[in-house]
Symmetry: C2
Subunit: 768 residues, 2 copies
């Protein structure tokens, strides 16, 4: 529809092509309508005539209000003449007091020249007029607008009269001080207002109409969540918690296996230049309606979907194949800003590639950047990919060897997700607090690639009826591992159930420390306690499948696998301890299957099958030793730095079966970071990165990444090959600009070797 038609449509006239058959144009009503539109809507674009109302879903799209809106139809339309203008009040400048306000609002760390504030806390701006401001007579308004169709009823258009109370308004304003033609105005966005970038206009109202200040991007203000304020949904009481979960821009993500886990530093970088804009771009790109952007629940749930590219062109493409040649290997990244900025700069093209810790790292940045307290969690032995079932099925063949082709479930060595701290206004109060969200596309959460928020305390109690995805998370930490064995004709039978394997250890970084914190007890009661049984009963009442395979008969004999830490490329010994708690001697025939495995527990090759037997006297423990030679497993390793061992034991005397499983995460060779010089602001500091190839094969297409938030911008070096025994040394100098604790992190990555990372904490002293 062209504008001419639109005008007719709006004022109730017939479109031109019909008007010849009608007389409506000349009725008194029609001319009154004409007045009406001039009076009220002098410059607004007309709404679409479609039968559905369009909704603003972009913060970056802007509305451009006219600089002058006339009121009075009796006077000529258009801007008033020169004389009238001279007599009237006008705005010379607006000072956003960026530095002072940001210090007050805990937003000083954001690298941005714009004002960034938090909800429900006052910020002050100074307006300079052309003459003294008279609070009694002058009629001035502050306007805040977000998105392309600002609307008072939707919280996307806020009008605050300066010096006058406005009824029914959520944002507050007051005149703090008037000094001649300078007026200091205090503005408090309400505790549940939309977060994002708002445009500000100062409007002088007189009898003729409204005159706005010119659009000026420098006065744009970002409003964020406020974890400091008890009225905000994301309030978190402890100062230490806020410092860690909102303000800390470097963190640790735990990976590896539960008894030898590895800390991996991650640059969250939520305050880095343009990261906040990139986060808003993510919401825009995900078409999250502006009216939803005031609610933590909505933001958090949407964000868990938007971090992955499944369904919705989100930030990251998940990839668990061996082949990352079309992008960056998940193991190579050192932090989030590189990823978020790439996504935004390439107009929303999903970034390649991620695995769970990358998804969790970027989601953490996103949340902290918007002001929602968040942490990265690692669940060791995470039950996964077992769609719609509570249990994980491991199938052994007739001989007790792992049957890889029939074992279609896997337990991930570790899986990372996030917890956000927030109120759950939709749920009974006890479910507020930490909530699980997970953006790794698992294909299984409510049919879509997102998960949560789900209350951690609800998981612990087994109260799984409440949204979102509680049953899925519950099963990740509580799944039973069921071992089946097939007979000669391929028919399977349950031989053993391990109820303690999944959710073995749940970690996060400790607040104010570089150590870890064990939070397993926030997710589950200890095994075999009354409370644990009650939680299971609650879970079954909430629709979890009944564990009809329990209880299993007790063999009275237990088996357990042990190793020390194993360096990649080393020979090692695996010990199988057999503990006979019965009062009879027992003879055990054990079959040990060794496979190379992804961190997802998916096996890629069987490299060892060994049979051993032991006779264990009553109430005694015996050990069997399995020798594992590097040359057995190295040919299949590639990036899969894990070995999975499954033991099947058959007790001759009782014809009973025992099973156990263990992952050995091979420790990759060291990447060494060394610093020389005095770590002081303004002084030169030398950094050296050293790596030696300990293998007897060539490492090709090696990428070295160096990242030091607050020290250096990210640096990527490529090496076409590192020969066997060969080494790489990279040196760089830097001059720190700000004092405080910094972390330098490095990763070395190539198709045959992954997860080689290192970090160095550096305390930079003040300049002398």
């Amino acid at each position: 529809m062209n504008q001419h038609e639109a005008l007719h449509e709006h004022i109730g006239l017939e479109p031109p092509h019909l008007s010849r058959t009608s007389t409506l144009l000349h009725t008194p009503q029609a001319s009154r309508h004409l007045v009406y539109i001039m009076l009220l809507q002098p410059n607004l674009t007309l709404p679409s005539v479609r039968g559905r109302i369009p909704f603003a879903k972009s913060n970056l799209d802007e509305y451009s209000p006219s600089e002058f809106e006339a009121f009075d139809v009796l006077r000529p339309r258009g801007p008033p003449d020169e004389e009238t203008q001279a007599a009237s009040l006008s705005v010379l400048s607006v000072d956003m007091r960026v530095t002072e306000n940001k210090e007050d609002h805990n937003t000083h760390k954001y690298v941005s020249s714009n004002l960034i504030v938090r909800r429900n806390k006052e910020f002050t701006i100074i307006i300079q007029f052309n003459r003294d401001f008279n609070e009694q007579q002058d009629n001035v308004e502050l306007e805040f607008m977000i998105g392309s169709s600002p609307d008072e009823n939707r919280g996307t258009y806020i009008i605050l009269p300066i010096g006058k109370e406005k009824p029914e308004v959520r944002w507050k304003s007051r005149v703090v001080e008037t000094q001649g033609n300078y007026v200091t105005v205090g503005v408090t966005p309400d505790a549940s207002c939309i977060i994002g970038r708002f445009l500000i206009f100062v409007v002088v109202v007189n009898d003729l109409g409204k005159r706005r200040t010119t659009r000026n991007t420098e006065t744009d203000v970002y409003v964020l969540f406020n974890p400091w304020d008890p009225a905000d949904e994301v309030y978190i009481p402890s100062k230490t918690d806020r410092q860690e979960y909102v303000m800390n821009d470097v963190g640790t993500i735990y990976i590896g296996e539960f008894n030898y886990f590895t800390p991996r530093s991650w640059n969250f970088g939520q305050f880095e230049q343009e990261v906040l804009d990139a986060c808003i771009f993510v919401l825009d790109s995900g078409k999250v309606p502006l009216v939803y952007r005031g609610g933590a629940l909505e933001i958090v749930r949407q964000a868990s979907a938007l971090m992955n590219a499944n369904d919705d062109y989100g930030v990251l493409v998940g990839n668990w194949s061996d082949d990352y040649s079309e992008g960056t290997a998940p193991t190579a990244w050192t932090g989030s800003p590189e990823i978020l900025l790439k996504y935004a700069n390439e107009g929303g093209e999903p970034v390649r590639f991620a695995q769970c810790w990358v998804f969790a790292g970027v989601l953490n940045t996103f949340m902290r950047c918007l002001g929602i307290p968040t942490r990265v969690i690692t669940n060791f032995n995470s039950a996964h990919d077992n769609m719609g079932k509570l249990n994980t099925d491991i199938v052994l063949d007739e001989m007790g060897r792992l049957d890889r082709s029939r074992t279609k479930d896997s337990v991930w060595n570790f899986h990372c997700w996030n917890e956000v701290y927030m109120k759950r206004p939709d749920l009974p109060e006890k479910f507020s607090g930490w909530q699980v969200i997970d953006s790794t596309p698992q294909e299984t959460s409510d049919g879509l690639s997102r998960c949560g928020p789900t209350s951690v305390s609800a998981i612990k109690e087994g109260e799984l009826s409440y949204p979102f995805d509680a049953r899925f998370v519950y099963s990740e930490v509580n799944s039973d591992v069921i071992y089946h064995r097939s007979d000669k004709q391929g028919k399977t039978k349950v031989i053993y159930v391990d109820t303690a394997y999944a959710g073995k250890l749940i970690l996060t970084k400790k607040t104010g420390s570089s150590d870890h914190e064990d939070i397993t007890s926030t997710y589950k009661y200890p095994e075999k306690t009354v409370k644990e049984r009650e939680a299971w009963q609650n879970a079954e009442r909430s629709g979890m499948p009944t564990r009809d395979y329990l209880p299993q008969p007790e063999a009275g004999v237990t088996i357990e696998l042990q190793t020390d830490t194993v360096n990649m490329g080393d020979d090692f010994k695996l010990t199988l301890n057999i503990n006979n708690q019965t009062n009879q001697t027992c003879t055990i025939n054990a079959t040990i299957t060794g496979c190379v495995a992804f961190y997802t527990g998916v096996t890629s090759a069987t490299f060892k099958i060994e049979n051993q037997a032991a006779t264990v006297e009553a109430s005694k423990t015996e050990s069997l030793t399995v020798d594992v030679n590097a040359k057995e497993y190295t040919p299949y390793l590639k990036e899969k730095g894990n070995l999975l061992f499954v033991v099947y034991g058959h007790i001759e005397e009782t014809d009973m079966s025992l099973t156990t499983m263990k992952v050995v995460t091979l420790q990759p060779p060291k990447l060494t970071l060394t610093m020389t010089g005095t770590p002081q602001v303004g002084k030169v500091l030398m950094i050296s990165v050293d790596f030696q190839n300990p293998f007897n094969f060539i490492l090709q297409n090696v990428q070295l990444r160096l990242d030091g938030p607050g020290l250096i911008p990210i640096k990527i070096k490529s090496y076409s090959q590192i020969l066997p025994g060969g080494s790489v040394k990279y040196k760089m100098s830097m001059i720190p600009r700000t004092p405080g604790k910094k972390v330098l992190m490095a990763s070395l990555d190539c198709p045959l070797l992954r997860q080689v990372t290192s970090q160095l904490e550096i305390e930079i002293f003040e300049a002398e």
Copy 2:
């Protein structure tokens, strides 16, 4: 990876390009591995080596098992020689007893030559062997497979030994009768098994291996939900209910406005040829994992997303514009089979176009076809498009006229959704029963285009913490309409709140009758009762916004708009009744705004603004009359057959404001269906469709659709134009083939005239 590499990968040997540096090939372990794979996995395709396990998400993709699987490694691999084969048992034929089983399983109405059964009910098949079957000695199995990677632990591969108990198996089998070489086997799929199309194989097992029957599509069996069985999640106790909500293939959808609603017949056609396959195709196209297809909750939630093309290339494209030239207008369809078959035949290309009743009609077909009891619901005055808010905001200007550009909410005259009847194993028991699902893309339900299932009883009680989308549905039926009025400077103020407007009337078709049933009381307690207030309080505790604009001061005066039914193109009178309940005379100045509106409440043009005044004595009622001329509104009508009137009343004496709003749905001209002849099986019946254009404009590009399930296949006739006063007569003859009650339905549709439909019930008698 090629097959040679795959083999090496699987058995733990090095891939060829590495083997020169290793001696592993010659170790005793290695040769034992070689035995292992031949023994156990003679013909299975090896799983992918990717780090994530792939999941079958298609029923139509098939797995092709080999016809022979060898067991014994000591004997030569491959099929046994001729002599051995001759001595052994083999299968000559399998009789699915389609007619008898379908009669027993209430699936006889499906037009399909395949067997269709319901869960947890036995069906019997007859296997013919080459010689007498010996239950003690012969080892025969029945295999059921679904999807491309059948797996016993996932319920996608069921192995049933014939004549032997199998432990831990969910499906049951038994030998019903043995007569020489004919064996009748009874099979009972378990009550929660996956629904869809299963392949059947009969397997003869002997010492050498397994021999399967050849793949035969004629023995494929479809397993459906079973509303007849108390063990099934979708059990519905009443026979009348099952007859209506599962077996009835024609229904009525109510449209229009609440005080003059119109029944519109709809051909659900769930039993029509290929419709069941199309429904399975929809699940495949939506990539619903097979393992989820046994749960009503999952099927139902996915289906609500899959009916619309938003997010996921679902069945129908929603369109609320005036322009349907790229497809079929939503108003033109007469039923679901045409749509579902078009979708399936075009490989999953979304069908254009739909509005709410079309989405609801097709979703109803989908559910009934799979065996889930379902009905179509119409909510009159459905609050919509009011994202994230409980209320609907109507903005009036300074003069009390509707301000269309600032009114961004709308109340739909009616909105259709579905209810499914099912258990909610995930929720407390009281929330089982009817559940709301809605597939009209509203862009607002949990960020995606789907809605539900949400328990109707939870909506009634205001218990909105439980999944899915309860708050959204609650607000559709309970939203408050808030009237705002702006002052000269554009600042708005709440002037009136109508708490009774939304969810005025909720209807569905009555069981076993062509009449409607009012089910409003299943969604809400009566206005202003204690129970209603309690439900509101529950709702606020579940996160609904507080209604801080209540209570509003009472004016003591009420206003109400009334009309009779209005035919499209007629002049009519609108009566404004003013009831003064105070003990003082009051003077009311009323402003009436008349707009043309979509059924979604979105207005497209203001055609009338009228001011009137009345003086009403204490305790009296006065009426004002507004004359509405056809020539005022017809120029803007097009397909928008509704007029929206908003009244603003100002009481001079008390300075209080009153507001009311009313939709007048214009009744379109009649489409007449007449039958001549005797409605008897085998006899000729004449049908005539008549329509006359009552308008003074030409109707162009007219489409006439005639649909008569069980009588005629769908028929579409086009007319390039119908002149003013001109008429169209279409005659056809048919010969009914089956007796019983049939419905013939017709729609006439063109860009200037929509929603012209008609239906004729015909009772076909048995042949003499």
